[in-house]
Amino acid sequence: MSAYANLLLVMLMAVDLYMVSTTRLDACIRACIIQAMILATLPFVLGGIHPDMAFSEQMHFVILAGATQIVKGVVIPWLLFRALRTLSSNREFEPFMSLHYSQLINCALCGVGFWGAAVLPWPVEHPHPLALGVALSTLLIGLYMAINRKKAISQILGYLVIESGLFVAGWALLKQPSSLMELGVLLDLLVAAMVMGILATRMDAAADDARDGNGGGDE
């Protein structure tokens, strides 16, 4: 089973790197959808679902996977596309750091992520080689996306990547689903994304342009 896990984790890393290097917002949102799909299948592979588990537990996995897929893969991208339609332009003009440097920085962040996973005292007995590293790298990349991008929408995307990083870290550390925790996280993610969407659109309505998350001088 772990072979598939490595494959999925590597795909997740690939999606992260793709998201950073694209300037088109709709492409980014589609990448998010792919990421959601990966995250939905990951528990089955990583979590150690095995046939002799009680039926209710297996159902547990299925419900969580379904919920993740619906929330992260369908509802939030729909919200973002709706917000994108109201905003005038589709392209993120000039992030603070040019794309080339962003990519270099992302590689560095992946390095830092894996270094962190290896060195820091994580409470896990037999850690999966890749899981924690990928989780931390995704987290750092998401944080970098939020810092580097000016448009409100791309900052929401950064936040989503952070959430997915956390999701993977959760699974890597806890190894089995805890209903209350996951549901709570998903619910919050949903509401947060909704509110951000509303704010982004209102910012556009109130502001002359949504070009920068909050550029311009203070009044």
Binding site: W122, P123, Y159, I162, A169, Q176, L180, D188, R202, A207
Partner: protein
């Protein structure tokens, strides 16, 4: 579902009710009544929590002395803030009209905000506590941008973005703590309840527990407004309507510090004194940064926001000096005093039509209640004696020296003196400067006497006399954080 569950349900019901209110004034009346009912219920339920832990919903929701203490402060401040909201929104000084739609939105969000804070404080399950924290961020962000003008929306955006990212890190700390607990229990069952975590704490390995505490400190520290992660606080408080910023800086920051103190009692058994050594530098740095900004701030609400950063620094210092009793006492003083100063500041802003202190002149003569209240509030805030903050700062300094943090106490007292002079200078300039200018346009009665005199009286009484029930409550709550 004994009485405890109702403390969450009552605000939720009022939130729904306020969506169907016909007129704005009805919403405001509902807000006042709702907050007083939930306050009364909280007192009924919370009182016995000081003697023994009360829990419900299979241990997921509970009230122990520490959370009951914080809950009482939250509902108390909330009740008075609702009364003030009535005056604030009905007076004429506001930029945007308080029509039916905004009123309903305000009412609903107001009670959801209260509900999420009570959830955070009453959650035994760390995940639930995290969810409550995230909920407070979302509801208060929407409250901040109640008026749809650009700076308010941008401030709300900054606040929401920063706190969501920070609380994501806090989620990581919860995950680490629970994973460590799961390993230590050996049963393979994941442990999320704080009470169980507390019992398992002595058996935990010290390294992962410390890692969890570091993430929690950065995550919840941002929410508490500790420097250098305090960037959102002046933005959000500066732009929010005054009742919202009063509650934001009055009690919301305390909830974040409450979460940190929960993590302190997890880390303490395995590595005694280590948490203090981390908290003390954060406390001092917050006070220093706040003092620097207080010296040159011109916007009255941002000034009070920086005072919040400073006092959060002092409370963290209290925790760092292993004097949780003094820190909790200071939390109470600061909440009451900050609420008072924000009320008066709000009335002044409405009276003078501007937030720039430079353009407020002779406040004592033109708006005697608000001006006098603000002057007394600032005096109390910076630790002038008759008020209780002087006593709690002295208590923290004494605890610091007795635990051997002498250089930290030296820095603490010097920064307190710098803040005393800078803040007092602002207050003096406002109260007596520029006698030549004409009085403000409409001296509307933006605030009622009770809202100023009641907190002041409370501050004076606590400053001089420590009533027995308060002492008992402080002792019980401090014992939980780990009074040595």
């Amino acid at each position: 579902m004994n009485g405890l569950g109702w403390i969450l349900i009552i605000p939720a019901l009022f939130a729904l009710a306020s969506l169907v209110m016909p007129r704005p004034r009805a919403v405001l009346w509902l807000a006042v009544i709702g907050s007083f009912i939930s306050a009364a219920w909280m007192v009924v339920v919370g009182w016995e929590a000081f003697d023994h832990r009360v829990s419900t919903l299979r241990q997921q929701i509970f009230l122990d002395a520490l959370s009951a203490y914080h809950c009482l402060i939250v509902v108390g401040v909330f009740a008075l803030a609702s009364v003030y909201a009535f005056y604030y929104f009905t007076s004429s000084g506001n930029a945007h009209p308080f029509d039916r739609r905004t009123a309903r939105r305000f009412g609903c969000l107001w009670f959801l905000f209260l509900d999420s804070m009570i959830l955070t404080l009453a959650a035994n399950n760390l995940g639930l506590m995290w969810v409550g924290m995230e909920a407070t961020t979302i509801t208060s962000a929407l409250l901040v941008c109640l008026d749809p003008d650009r700076p308010a929306v941008r401030a709300a955006w900054t606040y929401l973005m920063m706190c969501s990212v920070a609380i994501a890190l806090a989620l990581l700390s919860v995950i680490i703590a629970c994973a460590e607990a799961r390993i230590v229990t050996g049963t393979g069952q994941s442990v999320f309840l704080w009470t169980e975590l507390c019992e398992l704490a002595p058996k935990m390995h010290s390294a992962p527990a410390r890692l969890a505490f570091v993430f929690a400190l950065v995550g919840f520290g941002t929410k508490a407004g500790l420097a250098p992660m305090h960037g959102w606080l002046p933005e959000a408080h500066g732009q929010a309507p005054t009742p919202v910023s009063a509650v934001l800086s009055g009690v919301l920051l305390n909830c974040a510090l409450y979460c940190i103190s929960r993590f302190v009692s997890i880390v303490e058994p395995t590595s005694p004194g280590w948490a203090n050594s981390v908290l003390v530098p954060f406390g001092l740095f917050s006070m220093a940064v706040a003092a620097a900004f207080i010296a040159h701030e011109r916007d009255i609400k941002r000034l009070l926001a920086y005072h919040s950063v400073e006092h959060m620094g002092i409370i963290t210092l209290g925790l760092g000096f292993a004097a949780p009793g003094a820190a909790l006492f200071h939390t109470l003083n600061h909440s009451v005093c900050k609420m008072l100063t924000f009320f008066c500041a709000g009335a002044l802003v409405q009276g003078f039509g501007t937030r720039d202190m430079g353009r407020m002149h002779r406040t004592l003569r033109f708006l005697p209640l608000a001006g006098g209240g603000f002057l007394a509030g600032v005096l109390a805030l910076i630790g002038a004696p008759p008020f209780s903050i002087f006593m709690s700062e002295l208590w923290i300094a004494k605890a610091g020296i007795l635990n051997g943090h002498i250089p930290a106490v030296v820095v603490f007292i010097s920064i307190a003196a710098v803040v005393f002079v800078c803040a007092f200078r602002h207050a003096i300039e406002m109260t007596w400067s520029r006698p030549d200018l004409p009085p403000p346009a409409d001296g509307t009665r933006g605030i009622s006497a009770a809202l100023v005199l009641l907190p002041l009286a409370l501050l004076l009484v606590i400053g001089v006399w420590m009533p027995e029930p308060l002492r008992h409550a402080l002792q019980q709550a401090a014992a939980i954080i780990g009074e040595p």
